[in-house]
């Protein structure tokens, strides 16, 4: 791993890092990766992941009162925390 790799990861994760932060993270990552690399020694050829998958959601049909999947929340508290809003809507920068 080198400083370019750290910059690439920071870009992917959308985190702006200072030059000395990058150096520090590079050093830490090398020590952490050195440790977790022992996972490579595990033999897993005959191992299939056995996820126990089932539907935990209710059927896609009108819900009865006790099936309603939400807790009482405050619209005002949500809107109050928008960094920017207009007429009760969240206002964001244009994307295109």
């Amino acid at each position: 791993m080198n400083i370019k790799d750290v910059e690439n990861l920071a870009n992917l994760a959308r985190i702006e890092l200072g030059e000395d932060e990058k150096e520090k993270i590079l050093h830490d990552m090398e020590s952490i990766l050195g440790y977790i690399r022992q996972i490579e020694e595990v033999k897993v050829e005959d191992m299939k992941s056995e996820y126990n998958i089932c539907n935990v959601w209710r059927e896609d049909s009108p819900a009865t009162a006790d099936e309603i999947e939400s807790r009482e929340f405050s619209r005002k508290l949500i809107v109050d925390q928008f960094p920017d809003n207009q007429d009760g809507f969240l206002k964001v920068k244009k994307i295109l």
Partner: protein
């Protein structure tokens, strides 16, 4: 004056029902202690301004003849659990002024019982750490020695209980964050089976590992809190029911993974204390069995792949668009970069990058895929072992609480989780119970005789919470009996 030092939830409830003191009296006593000690200890990030009103409501409920196991009981809540209308920050700059718009399920349950919330407690930022040194709002200090860490990440909640600033508390445990600080501060911390307590309204770190746990002075109190918060919840898709796992019964057999306990990096005195604890169980008629779990020593590596992977995904949502910190740039991408760059602390950035790395093209199979497969293997190995033993015990931590600032290298801090992460990876419940004290060597004359607490950890099969509380109570009984016979341990 209420004797807070010797008060337990059970005793407080009796006194409240008998009108020996009111919920307002009790809350006032805690507020006075907080005023005295919190400045130094930094357990609370915020003490709520309506504590006495909450206590008054509890007194009205008591006056109407209502009685619940936590009615009027003052609790501390870790700053990662949402209470509607109150600030919750995950001890991060990125959520510093965030106000919760709904109640977490655990809070909803506690409110129905008339519990009193004293405040929100300090934690490592986004619960990432084992010492509460990663908080954006200062370190929490260990009440047994204020130059040392309290452990973490639920350090604030644990210190609140250990220093009599709350009667009980909620924490969260992703790799030991309830149990490790409990051991460092000499109290009880319990992490339930994965899915047993709803995560709805808990700020996520590693979603397949996160659990809300109870923190209390003894196992009985921890059980009272656990009983109040567990249960199936439609709002948490990973929630389990009473029927998910079969009930197990006790055959009085305890397994000890000696390979791991005798491994590198475990303090000799910790081992000595652990052996003493085992002797106590032998005297009680328990059979002690040496167990070997082949891939147990991989647990920490598995953990430090899966946890950052899940955390990097979970924390992607904090981008300055809808809530929390917002730093304005020239365009949307710059908004993201600046907001996250300013908002996240060092450890959080580190884990996000590590998670991004193990999930990125070319590394996914080698790290994340492999870790998931190894996790399945470990789960199988555990269920095999639990066919033969009721509990697996280890020390809770490989060493005692360290000096603040002593562990600057992240990997050395991660190694503190060596005994605790496995329960989260496998999903089994685990409890840490105090197992005595260690005298610190090489202290100056005025500090001589200072002692630091140690903990012992019990793991039980999935769904075995009640077994843990029972064994915890037994251990407390024999420990206090031998304490009074021998002075102290």
């Amino acid at each position: 004056m209420i004797d807070l030092k010797n008060l337990t939830i059970k005793k407080a409830r009796k006194a409240l029902d008998a009108k020996e003191f009111s919920a307002v009296d009790l809350a006032s006593a805690y507020l006075a202690e907080i005023k005295n000690k919190n400045k130094e200890l930094n357990a609370y990030l915020e003490v709520f301004d309506d504590v006495l009103e909450q206590a008054k409501t509890a007194d009205e409920m008591i006056a109407r003849g209502e009685s619940y196991p936590l009615l009027g009981v003052p609790l501390a809540i870790k700053d990662v659990i949402l209470i509607k209308g109150r600030r919750v920050s995950s001890a991060s700059k990125i959520l510093e002024n965030y106000v919760a718009s709904y109640d977490a399920t655990v809070i909803d349950k506690l409110k129905k019982q008339g519990a009193v919330f004293l405040g929100r407690t300090n934690t490592d930022e986004f619960a990432m750490g084992g010492s509460t040194e990663n908080s954006a709002f200062g370190v929490t200090r260990n009440p047994h020695d204020v130059s040392r860490v309290a452990g973490g990440s639920s350090g604030g909640s644990v210190v609140a209980v250990a220093a009599d600033l709350a009667l009980g508390a909620l924490g969260s445990d992703t790799g030991g964050s309830v149990r490790e600080p409990a051991a460092f501060c000499g109290i009880v911390g319990m992490k339930p089976t994965y899915g047993r307590v709803s995560r709805y309204g808990l700020i996520s770190m590693g979603s397949s590992l996160d659990c809300i746990g109870s923190i209390a002075k003894n196992s009985e109190d921890a059980q009272i809190i656990y009983n109040a918060i567990y249960g199936h919840d439609v709002l948490d898709s990973t929630s389990i029911t009473d029927k998910t796992y079969p009930k197990s019964s006790i055959n009085k057999t305890i397994g000890v993974p000696w390979d791991l306990v005798n491994g590198e990096g475990v303090d000799l005195k910790i081992k000595e204390n652990f052996k003493q604890s085992i002797l106590k169980f032998e005297k009680l008629g328990f059979k002690i069995k040496d167990i070997s779990i082949k891939n147990l020593d991989l647990a920490l590596a598995i953990y430090y792949i899966i946890m950052p992977a899940e955390a990097s995904t979970n924390l992607a949502r904090f981008d300055g668009v809808r809530y929390g910190l917002h730093k304005d740039g020239k365009n949307l991408l710059e908004d993201y970069m600046l907001t996250k760059g300013k908002g996240f602390g060092k450890e959080v950035s580190r884990r996000i990058l590590l998670g991004t790395y193990v999930l990125s093209a070319g590394y996914y199979d080698a790290y994340y895929g492999k870790a998931q497969a190894a996790r399945e293997i470990l789960k199988k190995e555990f269920s095999k072992v639990f066919a033969d033993v009721d509990f697996i015990i280890t020390p809770t931590t490989p060493f005692v609480a360290w000096k603040i600032g002593e562990k600057s290298d992240p990997l050395s801090m991660y190694l503190a989780d060596i005994f605790t992460v496995t329960a989260n990876i496998v999903g089994v419940p685990a409890i840490s119970v105090p197992s005595g004290f260690l005298e610190i060597e090489g202290l100056s004359a005025d500090e001589a005789g200072k002692k630091l607490p140690l903990g012992i950890q019990f793991m039980a099969p999935h769904g075995g919470e009640d077994l843990l509380f029972e064994v915890g109570k037994k251990f407390e009984e024999i420990s206090s009996a031998s304490d009074s016979a021998l002075g102290a341990i």
